[in-house]
Symmetry: C2
Subunit: 459 residues, 2 copies
């Protein structure tokens, strides 16, 4: 039985003897009795085990060290102490796996930096147990939202031969021995000898492939790992992260904003419903007020403002900027922060200058802006980025030419505009950003089990 | 509105006017009236649109080509024809996106080989629309099974510096220009200059990392893309595929078999419940009797047989083998086939010779076999492979030494046996094999949206 099942029907088990297997989080004892904080990882709260001198194994039990795996039998009874409604009166304990005196995770406060060094043990702490359960539950929330709205979960390939994103930003993938790359007559790498017979990369996005399936299923979403080569050592960048990329046919920019808003609220509500103990813990120890913040989001209508109007707002603000806001230019972190604080909630910024956005975004009638939207949230900045896609074949090709994008092998993408093309939109959601937003954790390294960042690929 | 929502409450819409957007699968007409097979991809069945000469646009509508995207308004009425209970009496049609005369997907039978060549259009056919919807629904079934049983969805890293699987089998990942790899003084690739400052690979399995989280959460599962460099051009191998890897603490080999069996039945039932039209289609056109086959699995108890007894069974069979079955050796495709046909259902083969299995599998008391299990299913062969893991620190290290596995940087894995270690087990399920089993499709290239196989990485 899982401790979760026990706690969720605790009344049913009152007076009953149960057997549980799990780990010792703490073991305190006096001469006549002792307490074990027992946790099997399925539930945030530990179960208190009470054992006393009557047990013939008392001495052995009292020596069981923190971190050990045990099998315990006992009766579930109402607790006389404070801090828990029920506890287990132990009848026997079996040591399944010992733990040494120098076990790194002791019942005290460890810094997050230290816990990153023992990343393989950190999910055994309260904080990370909560973070990675929320991560799992939020992932399920995303699947349930899309599946219940008729979306098809599309598995986009991650190996690709198309370098349409600019191969500098993409990892190269090879079976070659890099100490000894086979060469052709010209002295270049002879990719004919590689597994796929050509040069291949890891895609940084599933969007283009996603569009091909959206134009068959109307609504699709991707959800998988994404690798990017950015050499950014910031709190919000990692080289491996998970991303969700929905794509919807017969949907314009307003439609996609509606979906983003509805989905985010669904996920927030789902996580708060399923992880009340974890959310309480974050509220107390990670980001005070996070529950109130999220509840407010549930009950608000997200603001929608054009990039142009956002710049005007920033220019009129009585603030000394590090980067002066300018029409036609990107928005800095400090601007995002000001805007979300100004509106005191999530804000959609729409209709961005075309020159700072991607080629596949739909050109607006002004010929200057594109139908793109970023969702900015208080505390985390940009959470989602989306756009209506350029569905005019000629305009798309022109834009690719202007930006020197090699479209010679991309007819499968451009043809979508010739074969029953239609207005369609999509967005990308960085899953780690979402988890940071939901937990209050400030560093992306603390919401990915094994983070990969520049010069850091341990475990 | 989605066509799925319409069909699922069709009675409610009787006599109502609705607006739909989707694609023309076929358009047949005579001088006074015409029929469009209309499909928006959210539902397997097409909606029949009926339009007649009364419409001022009759001539334009009758010329709309197959593949075009349209917006249609009309009233839902009971159908007088056979083949459908309801249809739409059209009041107006708007062409949103034209399709040319030479559009590749015409209302006729296309070969699967041809459709692989236009992989970006094949989900617009009945067959592939069904396959990839089932793929999506089966993925959700897997998530629902594990989430509802207290598992944590664990996102295993795919970039790794540990070459514990043998680096020959793993893709190398780099940001280097392969035409010009930076060299150190010794003339070797200078990985200090690469993004992670060291040589990195793509893992072929999330199991080892999964174990670290199972020993914190008790129950975890992974579900993500997996890349392997196998140069196999068979119907069941691809270099990129999706895999599910559950890992469960306090679980032995029998326990993991119970989970495999329960999970598989859950997924089968879920898909049959959610995709009845698709399953009917497969039963009719892909694998006759597949519904009966799957129903039988639901109602059976899977056979469990040791590898030793399976070899005895094969030796005693009155069959001329291509590969003679031998104790201590692997089981060939023809043997798998015989065994599943003999028992007429899924079969667990347990306790394999240690020399043909991985180092991390638990050594049995006989010192010859390991607590490993393969699940063989009729038609598809090996569907899942699992084992109880070696939880004895010394035995694990010995086995790694015997097999010359470099464990110098794997203390995060081996230490799991020192820090509250416990008996634990897990398995791997190749998601594409499952989809082949559920749909009757025989080639893995037809159950992955964009297959990657040796010398094949298009799109």
């Amino acid at each position: 039985m899982d401790v979760k099942d026990l706690f969720e029907s605790i009344k049913k088990f009152e007076g009953k003897e149960v057997t549980l297997e799990g780990w010792v989080r703490n073991n305190r004892n006096q001469s006549n009795f002792g307490f074990v904080d027992f946790n099997d990882g399925t539930y945030f709260k530990s179960l208190q085990l009470v054992y006393d001198k009557e047990l013939k194994d008392f001495d052995n039990i009292s020596k069981i060290r923190v971190g050990s795996a045990i099998r315990v039998k006992g009766k579930i009874v109402k607790s006389e102490g404070s801090g828990q409604s029920h506890e287990m009166k132990v009848s026997s304990v079996e040591l399944l796996g010992d733990s040494p005196e120098d076990y790194p995770i002791q019942p005290k406060r460890h810094t997050r930096e230290f816990l990153r060094e023992v990343a393989y043990l950190r999910p055994r702490t309260n904080l990370f147990n909560a973070v990675f359960r929320v991560r799992s539950v939020a992932a399920q929330a995303i699947h349930e939202y899309f599946q219940s709205h008729n979306y098809v979960y599309f598995h986009s390939p991650i190996i690709t031969a198309a370098d349409c994103e600019g191969s500098d930003q993409m990892f190269k993938l090879t079976t070659f021995d890099l100490n000894n790359v086979p060469k052709d007559e010209k002295g270049n790498a002879d990719f004919k000898k590689d597994l796929f017979g050509k040069k291949v990369y890891i895609t940084g996005s599933g969007q283009l492939h996603g569009e091909t399936y959206a134009l068959a299923y109307k609504k699709i979403y991707t959800f998988g790992p994404t690798l990017r080569t950015e050499k950014s050592n910031t709190k919000t960048h990692a080289n491996e992260f998970w991303m969700i990329e929905p794509e919807v046919a017969f949907c314009d920019l307003n439609g996609i904003m509606n979906i983003e808003e509805e989905m985010l609220k669904f996920v927030i509500k789902y996580v708060m419903d399923k992880c009340p103990l974890e959310m309480e813990f974050f509220d107390k120890f990670v980001e005070k007020g996070i529950i109130e913040k999220l509840n407010k989001v549930l009950n608000s209508k997200f603001v929608r403002i054009t990039h142009h109007d956002a710049i005007t707002l920033l220019k009129e603000a009585n603030v000394k900027w590090e980067f002066e806001p300018e029409y036609g230019e990107d928005i800095a972190k400090e601007h995002e922060k000001y805007i979300t604080e100004h509106f005191n909630g999530p804000v959609f910024i729409t209709d961005w200058p075309k020159d700072i956005k991607a080629y596949y975004m739909k050109l607006n009638p002004d010929n200057e802006t594109v139908a793109a939207v970023d969702l900015e949230v208080p505390g985390s900045g940009e959470l989602m980025g989306g756009s209506q896609r350029e569905d005019d074949y000629d305009k798309l090709i022109n834009r690719m030419k202007e930006l020197n994008i090699d479209y010679s092998e991309m007819d499968w993408y451009t043809n979508l505009r010739r074969f029953g093309g239609c207005y369609h939109s999509g967005f990308g959601l960085g899953f780690e950003r979402l988890i940071m937003y939901l937990t209050g954790i400030e560093n992306i390294r603390d919401v990915i089990p094994y983070p990969r960042t520049p010069n850091n690929c341990d475990y």
